[in-house]
C-alpha cells in the first residue's frame, strides 16, 4: 500500500500548482467576456458623442430588462439540456393576464402582479409536464406552447390591448424611480434583484446543481438517485415564473398589455444566453454570462441606432459582430 500511495501522492501534487492559475484564468475569462462587452461599449463611446452619458446608458439598461428577464429563466432550461421557445408569446399572455387581473377584475396591483407571475409559472409547469412526463422533446413542447400561448393571449384579451389607465402605480413598477432624484428606472433594479436571485439559485442551491447535472449527463444523474423528472418540471416552472415577471415588466412599461406581441423575444433570449457562453447542449453556463449576452445585444442595437447606420445594414453588422464576438470568445477559451 505504501509504495503506490507515495507515487500517487507525487502525482496528486502535480496538478496543484496549475490549479490556482486555472481558477484565476476562469475569473479572467469571465472578465474577458465582460471585456468583449467593454470593447463594443468603448467603440461606440468613441464613435458617437451621444453614446456614453447617463441618459443613454439608462436607456440601454431599460432596453435590456425584458430580454434579460426572459434570458435568466431560459438559462436554467438551457443548462439543463432543454430549450424554451414559449417565453415570448408566454410573456404576452402573462401581460394579458395582468391586464385581466388588475384592470378587468380590479384586483390590487400587488395581488395582480403575484397572480401574473404565478400564471407564468403555470405556463412553465405545463411545459415541464409535457417534457418530463409526456417526454415530448423540449423544442416541440415549447413550440406548441408558443403557438398556444400566442393564441390564448388573443382569445382572452379579445385581440384588444388592455390598458392600466386606472392604476397609475402599475406603470411605476417599470419606469418609476424609487431612488429619489436619480431618475433611474425601477425595472433595472428589479432585473438586478432577480438576476442575483437567479445567480444564487444557479450556483448555490441544489436546483442549480441538478440543472447542471441533468444537462451534463441525464442518465448518470438519474443513476445517482436524483428525481430527474421532478427537477425538470421545477426548472421549466422557474423559467415560467421569469416569463411572468417579464410579462409584468413589459406591460407596466407600456402601460398596456399587447396581446399580439412577443414572437421573436424567445430567440433573442436564447441568443443572449448562448452569447453569454452557455452551451446549448447543456451542462455549462452562468447568470453573469447571460446578463453580459443580453447587454451585448442591447448595446449593439442602441449603438448602431445612435450612429444612424441605415437600418437594413444594422442587422448585417449585428450578424457579423455576433459571429466575431463568439469566435473570439471560443478562440480565447481554446488557447487558455
Amino acid at each position: 500500500m505504501t509504495t503506490p500511495s507515495v507515487t500517487e501522492q507525487g502525482q496528486a501534487g502535480q496538478p496543484r500548482p496549475s490549479l490556482v492559475p486555472a481558477r484565476l484564468r476562469k475569473r479572467l475569462q469571465q472578465f474577458l467576456a465582460f471585456g468583449g462587452l467593454i470593447v463594443v461599449f468603448a467603440f461606440f463611446s468613441i464613435a458617437s458623442p451621444n453614446f456614453f452619458n447617463y441618459g443613454n446608458v439608462t436607456s440601454i439598461l431599460l432596453a435590456t430588462v425584458v430580454i434579460g428577464t426572459l434570458a435568466l429563466g431560459t438559462t436554467f432550461v438551457i443548462i439543463s439540456g432543454g430549450i424554451d421557445l414559449s417565453v415570448g408569446t408566454g410573456m404576452a399572455l402573462c401581460a394579458v393576464m395582468a391586464g385581466t387581473f388588475i384592470t378587468n377584475l380590479g384586483m390590487p396591483v400587488p395581488l395582480g402582479v403575484l397572480l401574473t407571475v404565478l400564471f407564468g409559472g403555470l405556463i412553465g409547469l405545463v411545459n415541464g409536464l409535457n417534457v418530463a412526463l409526456l417526454k415530448v422533446p423540449p423544442f416541440i413542447a415549447t413550440l406548441a406552447m408558443m403557438l398556444a400561448a400566442g393564441g390564448l393571449a388573443l382569445v382572452i384579451s379579445d385581440s384588444t390591448p388592455i390598458y392600466f389607465s386606472d392604476t397609475p402605480g402599475y406603470v411605476e413598477i417599470s419606469i418609476g424611480s424609487i431612488i429619489p432624484g436619480a431618475d433611474f428606472p425601477n425595472s433595472v433594479l428589479i432585473l438586478a434583484a432577480i438576476a442575483i436571485i437567479a445567480g444564487v439559485l444557479l450556483s448555490r442551491t441544489i436546483l442549480g446543481r441538478f440543472a447542471f447535472s441533468i444537462g451534463s449527463n441525464e442518465e448518470a444523474t438519474a443513476l445517482s438517485g436524483i428525481k430527474v423528472r421532478q427537477w425538470k418540471i421545477i426548472i421549466y416552472t422557474l423559467a415560467g415564473l421569469f416569463t411572468g415577471i417579464a410579462g409584468v415588466m413589459i406591460s407596466s412599461r407600456l402601460g398596456s398589455a399587447q396581446p399580439g406581441t412577443g414572437l421573436g423575444y424567445e430567440l433573442q433570449a436564447i441568443a443572449a444566453v448562448v452569447i453569454g457562453g452557455t452551451s446549448l447542449s447543456g451542462g455549462k453556463g452562468s447568470i453573469v454570462g447571460t446578463l453580459i449576452g443580453a447587454l451585448i445585444i442591447s448595446v449593439l442595437n442602441n449603438g448602431l441606432q445612435i450612429m444612424s447606420i441605415p437600418q437594413e445594414w444594422q442587422n448585417v453588422i449585428l450578424g457579423c459582430v455576433i459571429v466575431l464576438a463568439v469566435y473570439a470568445d471560443m478562440a480565447r477559451q481554446r488557447t487558455a
Binding site: 500500500m1 503506490p4 496528486a12 490549479l19 441544489i206 446543481r209 447542471f212 444523474t221
Partner: protein, 512 residues
C-alpha cells in the same frame, strides 16, 4: 445443475441472494434462472464471458432494469428496487461498468451528487462539500483533487472517482462492475486494499472482473456464469485460474507465454523524435519497426495515451517530428493519420470509440467507409453488412444481428466492435490503447493471437496497456514512460516486471 445453490445456510441467511432470475431483451435471453449468493463479510467474484449477463444481473439488483422472473433477498427479506435511489436507500451501492459520471461537475460534486451538504435543504454548502470530498479522497489515498472537473480527467482517474463515490455511501453491499479495467497493477493493489478495509462482518462485495489473476488476491469465492446461466461457485483457496477459465468458457485455453520472434533486419516503419505537448509530454522519441508489436508501459497519467493522441493528430504537438517509412510526415488530424494508414483505437470506447446509438454494422464500417464501401459516393450496404458479419463471427461478437444498436451490446462486445472497425480499415500502423479493456479471458487470447497475426503480416502495432503481464506477453519491445517522458526501451528478453516498474516510477522532481 447448480449444486450448493439449492440449500442456503440454514442457520444464517446470506447477505444478498438471487433466485431464479430471468431477464430477456428483444432477441436476447440475457439471464435464465440466475442464482447468486453473497455471504456476510465476503468478497464474491462474479466471472463469465463477455455478454454472459454479469452487468445485467447487477443492473437488476440496482433497479436499472426490472427482472422478468425471480426474486432477490437482502438479509433474507424480499428486495424490490424500482430505481437507483431505492437501491442506495437499501444500502446497495454500485460502480457501473460504463462510467456514469457527470462530466461538467467537479470530483467532489460528482461524489456527493444528490447528497450535497445543505443549509435548510436547498442552499449548498460548497466548502463543506469539498472538505468532505477531500477527507474521503485522503482516507482512500487517491491522487485526486476534489475541485477538478471530471470531464478533464483521464479514464483511470475517472474510474477512481467512481470508486470513491461508491465507497462514500454507507453501503452494506458494494457492487463493482470491472473496477480495475482501466487501472494498472499498482492502482489495482490500492483498490484491493480499499476493498479489504470496506469488508466487515455485516457487509459484502460483489466484484466483477476479467482479470482472473487478481481474483486470487481479493475474492473469497468465485461465482461463474455462462450464457446467462449460473454454473458454479468456487472457493478461491482451492481453485486455480485454469479451473475458472474452463468453467467460464467450457473448455481449456492454451496460452503461450512469450512473444514471437522478429527478425531484427526489418526496417523502421515509424519514428518519432522530440515529441512534446503543452500538457505533459517532453522529448518523447521511439522507433516502430515493420511487423513489430511495441508495448507501452507506465503508470496512470504517464502520458501513453497522450503520445498516441498527439501522434494521430487528435491533440496538438508542441514540437517534434514524425517519420513514416523514412519520409517525414505532417499529421494534423486523425483524418491525416488515416490517410497515412495509421489507426488509433481509443481507450475510452463510450466517448471516443463508438457511435453507441448506431448499428453494429455502421460502427464496423465507419473507418473504411470511404475507402472500401462506396462507389461514386453510394454506400455498398451489402458489402458493409457482409464485412460486419464476418468480423462478428471472427471476433465472436455476441449480438443477435449486425443491425442491433451498439448500446445494447455488453461492454466487452462493444470493445470488440471498436477493434473490428480498425481491422476493416487495414492500416499499416495500428495503435491500440487498452485494447483488451473489459474483454474476457477467452476473447483476450483471441485478440492476442490477432495482434500476433497482424504483426506477422507486417503490420506495425503500438500496444498501450495497463496490464503489465499483457505487455510483456505480447511486445517485441517495451517502451516505458513516466511523467511524460520515455524512461527506457527494453527488448522482450530484457523486459521483466521489476525493471519495467523501476522505469515506470522514475521521478523528475523539480524539472518542470
Amino acid at each position: 445443475m447448480p449444486l450448493d445453490a439449492q440449500a442456503p445456510d440454514s442457520g444464517r441467511r446470506a447477505l444478498l441472494e438471487a433466485w431464479g432470475v430471468v431477464k430477456n431483451f428483444p432477441g436476447v435471453k440475457a439471464l435464465q434462472d440466475m442464482h447468486l449468493e453473497l455471504r456476510h463479510g465476503e468478497v464474491l467474484a462474479l466471472v463469465g464471458e463477455n455478454g454472459a449477463g454479469k452487468s445485467t444481473l447487477m443492473k437488476l439488483l440496482t433497479g436499472v432494469y426490472s427482472p422478468d422472473e425471480g426474486q432477490f433477498l437482502l438479509h433474507g427479506e424480499p428486495l424490490e428496487v424500482s430505481g437507483p435511489r431505492q437501491a442506495l436507500e437499501r444500502g446497495i451501492s454500485i460502480i457501473h461498468q460504463e462510467f456514469n459520471l457527470v462530466p461538467d461537475l467537479t470530483i467532489a460534486q460528482n461524489i456527493f451528487l444528490g447528497r450535497e451538504p445543505r443549509y435548510g435543504g436547498l442552499l449548498l454548502r460548497e466548502g463543506e462539500l469539498n472538505a468532505r470530498a477531500q477527507e474521503l479522497i485522503d482516507s482512500l489515498q487517491l491522487p485526486l483533487d476534489p475541485r477538478q472537473v471530471v470531464g478533464t480527467l483521464s479514464v483511470a482517474r475517472q474510474q477512481m472517482v467512481e470508486i470513491a463515490k461508491a465507497l462514500s455511501f454507507d453501503a452494506k453491499v458494494l457492487i463493482m462492475d470491472e473496477p480495475t479495467a482501466a487501472l494498472n497493477d499498482a492502482e489495482v493493489r490500492v483498490l484491493h486494499e480499499l476493498i479489504r478495509r470496506f469488508v466487515r462482518p455485516d457487509t459484502g462485495v460483489i466484484y466483477i472482473s476479467h482479470r482472473l489473476e487478481e481474483l486470487k488476491a481479493i475474492a473469497d469465492r468465485i461465482t461463474v456464469i455462462r450464457d446467462g446461466r449460473y454454473i458454479e461457485t468456487l472457493d478461491t483457496p482451492t481453485t486455480t485460474v485454469q479451473d475458472v477459465i474452463s468453467r467460464m468458457v467450457g473448455r481449456e485455453l492454451a496460452g503461450d507465454a512469450r512473444p514471437e520472434n522478429v527478425r531484427d533486419d526489418r526496417h523502421v516503419m515509424l519514428s518519432v523524435r522530440g515529441m512534446s505537448t503543452k500538457a505533459l509530454l517532453e522529448d518523447v522519441g521511439f522507433d516502430l519497426m515493420e511487423g513489430e508489436i511495441l508495448g507501452f508501459a507506465g503508470l496512470m497519467g504517464a502520458g501513453r495515451t497522450e503520445v498516441a493522441r498527439a501522434l494521430v493528430g487528435a491533440d496538438k504537438m508542441a514540437s517534434g517530428s514524425v517519420t513514416l517509412r523514412g519520409r517525414p510526415v505532417h499529421i494534423a488530424s486523425p483524418a491525416d493519420a488515416a490517410k497515412h494508414r495509421i489507426g488509433y483505437l481509443s481507450e475510452d470506447r463510450k466517448q471516443l470509440g463508438l457511435l453507441v446509438e448506431q448499428a453494429v454494422e455502421s460502427n464496423i464500417g465507419l473507418s473504411a467507409l470511404q475507402e472500401l464501401f462506396q462507389t461514386l459516393g453510394f454506400v455498398k450496404d451489402r458489402a458493409v453488412r457482409e464485412t460486419a458479419e464476418r468480423y462478428v463471427g471472427d471476433l465472436a461478437i455476441k449480438t443477435p444481428s449486425v443491425a442491433l444498436t451498439t448500446k445494447n451490446l455488453s461492454g466487452g462486445n462493444q470493445q470488440k466492435v471498436v477493434i473490428a472497425k480498425w481491422l476493416v480499415k487495414d492500416c499499416d500502423v495500428l495503435i491500440f490503447d487498452e485494447p483488451t479493456r473489459g474483454i474476457d479471458v477467452g476473447a483476450k487470447e483471441e485478440i492476442y493471437q490477432l495482434l500476433n497475426e497482424l504483426a506477422r503480416r507486417g503490420k506495425s502495432i503500438i500496444m498501450i496497456s495497463s496490464e503489465l503481464p499483457e505487455v510483456l506477453r505480447l511486445s517485441h519491445r517495451v517502451v516505458v514512460m513516466s511523467e511524460g517522458r520515455v524512461t527506457g526501451v527494453l527488448s522482450a528478453a530484457e523486459a521483466g516486471e521489476e525493471n519495467v516498474m523501476h522505469l515506470a516510477t522514475m521521478r523528475f522532481i523539480g524539472d518542470r
